[in-house]
């Protein structure tokens, strides 16, 4: 999952995981920034480094399990060193700050460690789908490009091997796709288009349909005058209240017109299907909202699959 800050990338990661679970897939969400509301959306306490179950699955529909974990570069490095029989230097590397020096000498090393760990998780039999909530876009390109960049700097050794494996995973469209998330607004749409082209050109990664988050759903009666609507219902509405109804209706209509313009612009500039998720007026995403959004996402995906 990649997208500019503020577009709801983490929400969409949670929704995708929930939707996958509905289809019976066992899903693992990996969070890399160490601070997100992911667990809260599933009604669980905040994430730690250890894997936790966010949603148990099972039930009459045979839902898959949703698990999640946080993965920071330092964690990934410690794991890596342990796996390579170097645990004795690992603490010193982190505590002396030498990791910063190494990461500067070979930029992308932290990213490669995270992606390498993701690759390891992907191989795990108990997981059907890994959803990686990637760093905010802009950084996303650098993050995913790390494997290639590192192959130039580090020409031998285990890190080089790791980078090769990661590059292979990223460019294998059957194993890995990037889902770009945006809002139906001008700047986020521009950035999404830019990111999409950079990812294809510079990383060679496959793109999934884009998710446009925060769409105002249509509501009946917006173009009807409140007075007329009241009359049709056989009631009267005080003039102040009618004015409020009118102002709110106009606002939504204006926003919907703007969002339609952006959806069209996005379709024109980027030949990828769009999956649209509604704006959540209650603002807090909890288990109920997540369920609702997962339904919507599955419906959007089903609509894609049908021939037009």
């Amino acid at each position: 999952m990649a997208g500019k800050g503020g577009v709801g990338k983490t929400v969409v990661s949670a929704v995708l995981a929930k939707a996958a679970a509905r289809l019976g897939l066992s899903t693992l969400v990996v969070e890399v920034e160490g601070k997100s509301g992911l667990a809260t959306m599933f009604g669980q306490p905040p994430l730690g480094y250890d894997e936790v179950v966010l949603s148990a699955g099972g039930g009459p529909l045979g839902e898959g399990e949703v698990r999640a974990r946080t993965l920071t570069p330092d964690d990934a490095l410690l794991d890596y060193l342990r796996d390579h029989g170097l645990s004795r230097i690992s603490n010193r590397l982190v505590s002396s700050g030498a990791l910063d020096v190494v990461a500067t000498a070979a930029p992308g090393i932290k990213d490669i460690l995270i992606l390498g760990k993701v690759k390891q998780l992907e191989r795990h039999d108990a997981v059907d789908l890994v959803v990686l909530d990637a760093p905010a876009a802009g950084h996303a390109v650098t993050f995913l490009q790390a494997a290639r960049a590192l192959l130039d700097t580090v020409s031998v050794g285990p890190i080089n091997a790791q980078a090769k494996d990661v590059a292979a995973m990223l460019t294998d469209h059957a194993r890995c796709r990037v889902v770009l998330v945006t809002l139906p607004e001008e700047t986020p749409v521009n950035e999404l288009v830019e990111t999409a082209f950079s990812l294809e050109d510079r990383v060679g990664v496959g793109l999934a349909p884009v998710v446009v988050n925060g769409i105002y759903d249509p509501v009946v009666g917006l173009s009807v005058a409140p007075g007329a609507a009241a009359e049709a219902a056989g009631v009267t509405v005080a003039s102040e209240e009618a004015a409020s109804l009118r102002a709110a209706a106009t606002f939504r209509q204006d926003r919907m017109r703007l969002q339609d313009e952006q959806l069209i612009r996005l379709a024109e500039r980027l030949p990828l299907s769009q999956l649209r998720l509604p704006f959540v007026f209650s603002t807090d995403i909890g288990p109920a909202e997540l369920d609702h959004l997962a339904d919507r996402l599955l419906a959007e995906i089903a609509a894609l699959a049908e021939p037009v």
Binding site: G6, A98, T104, A106, V154, E186, G221, S244, F251, S282
Partner: protein
């Protein structure tokens, strides 16, 4: 309104405004609006942005922003300039200024490890933003400098960046490796060498060689960097400087903004103003609570739809105010400016002026 007076007072009285906050909350636009408003108050203001921010350049009527302040023409009594932070050239300038000889400077600029620092070392961009701020402040020809900051999650990344970088450049481990030691020092040296050899096995020897060469070339310059870092840190907590926290009313960004305000407070820096962008508008407070009830009873009819729409916006507006409550308390007594969700993106000076009307 007392709060509007305060933000305009800051614009008229302070010499530095630092706009901070998480990504995607409208920091760049807010910074530009503040500088524009200061120019309207007759001041000579410059806005320093971090992103290439083509949209901002367009809004200011420029083809693009460069690393030097460009004057923007307009009908204000003061002057307005805009520039973009160029992390690499700012760092290069700092190296050249601190080098004991032209050769030492060049040796560092040519080093592969050094070339990675500006792009790869976390905190470099933050540090260079502060460094540029310091340089502009030293020039004294601007009345007000407004800086946009990189979208860091942790305010300390940025308060701490100068100190952290100078610590990095003075890295003990590498210093030990490059300095010929005696006695006790030699033992440490041997241990460090062994350690680095192990690291080299993992990441490749050339990586470590580059780093060691860099620290050798840098030898003797760390003092200058340390002094500068202290001066920059002092400037940030100076009375001339005010921090403006920018947020949007989403719950997660509010949480991040609170965390930001708290860490700034721990560093002894107060948030002087809070700007909240993208607030949903309120329609008809009198109907509160009843709209959803009406929508449910009249579901499926036009009137039901109209009530549902009103109920939607009442819900989102009241939730946003709830989220905001804790943050306004955390930054109290800083004034809070609410900028509504605008009908379109800011494209030109008129757009910036529209935001200014809500801000001041």
């Amino acid at each position: 309104m007392a709060h509007s007076a305060s933000l305009s007072e800051l614009l008229q009285q302070r010499r530095i405004l630092v706009c901070c906050g998480s990504g995607g909350v409208g920091k760049t636009t807010t910074a530009a609006v503040l500088a524009l408003s200061a120019a309207r108050f007759g001041r000579r203001a410059v806005v320093v942005t971090i992103d290439p921010a083509k949209r901002l350049a367009d809004a200011l009527g420029l083809d693009g922003l460069t690393g030097t302040p460009t004057r923007i023409e307009g009908d204000w009594s003061g002057e307005l300039f805009a520039m973009m932070l160029d992390t690499k050239s700012t760092f290069d300038g700092l190296v050249v200024a601190n080098a004991s000889s032209a050769e030492q400077g060049q040796r560092i600029l040519d080093n592969r490890f050094y070339k990675n620092i500006s792009g790869a070392l976390s905190g470099t961009q933050e540090y260079m933003a502060m460094e540029k701020l310091y340089e502009l402040h030293q020039r004294t020809d601007f009345d007000l400098i407004v800086v946009d900051t990189p979208p860091t999650r942790h305010a300390l990344d940025f308060i701490d960046a100068p100190r952290r970088l100078s610590r990095f450049l003075d890295h003990r481990l590498f210093r030990v490796v490059i300095s010929p030691g005696r006695g006790m020092m030699r033992a440490v040296n041997v241990a460090a060498q062994t350690f680095l050899r192990t690291v080299a096995k993992v990441v490749g020897a050339e990586v470590i060689d580059d780093a060691v060469a860099f620290f050798q070339a840098f030898d003797g310059m760390e003092e200058g960097f340390r002094e500068r870092a202290t001066a920059v840190a002092e400037l940030l907590s100076d009375d001339d400087t005010a921090f403006v926290l920018v947020a949007s009313p989403r719950r997660d960004t509010i949480d991040e903004a609170r965390y930001f305000a708290e860490t700034l407070a721990e560093a002894g820096i107060a948030v002087r103003a809070l700007v909240v962008n993208r607030m949903h508008p309120r329609f008809g407070r009198g109907v509160a609570g009843r709209a959803q009830e009406q929508a449910d009873t009249r579901q499926g009819t036009d009137l039901g739809g109209l009530y549902q729409n009103l109920a939607d916006f009442e819900l989102v507006a009241s939730r946003q105010e709830e989220h905001l409550a804790g943050l306004t308390e955390a930054v109290y007594p800083a004034p809070v400016a609410r900028v509504p969700f605008l009908a379109s993106d800011v494209h030109d000076l008129d757009g910036l002026s529209e935001v200014a009307e809500h801000l001041l």
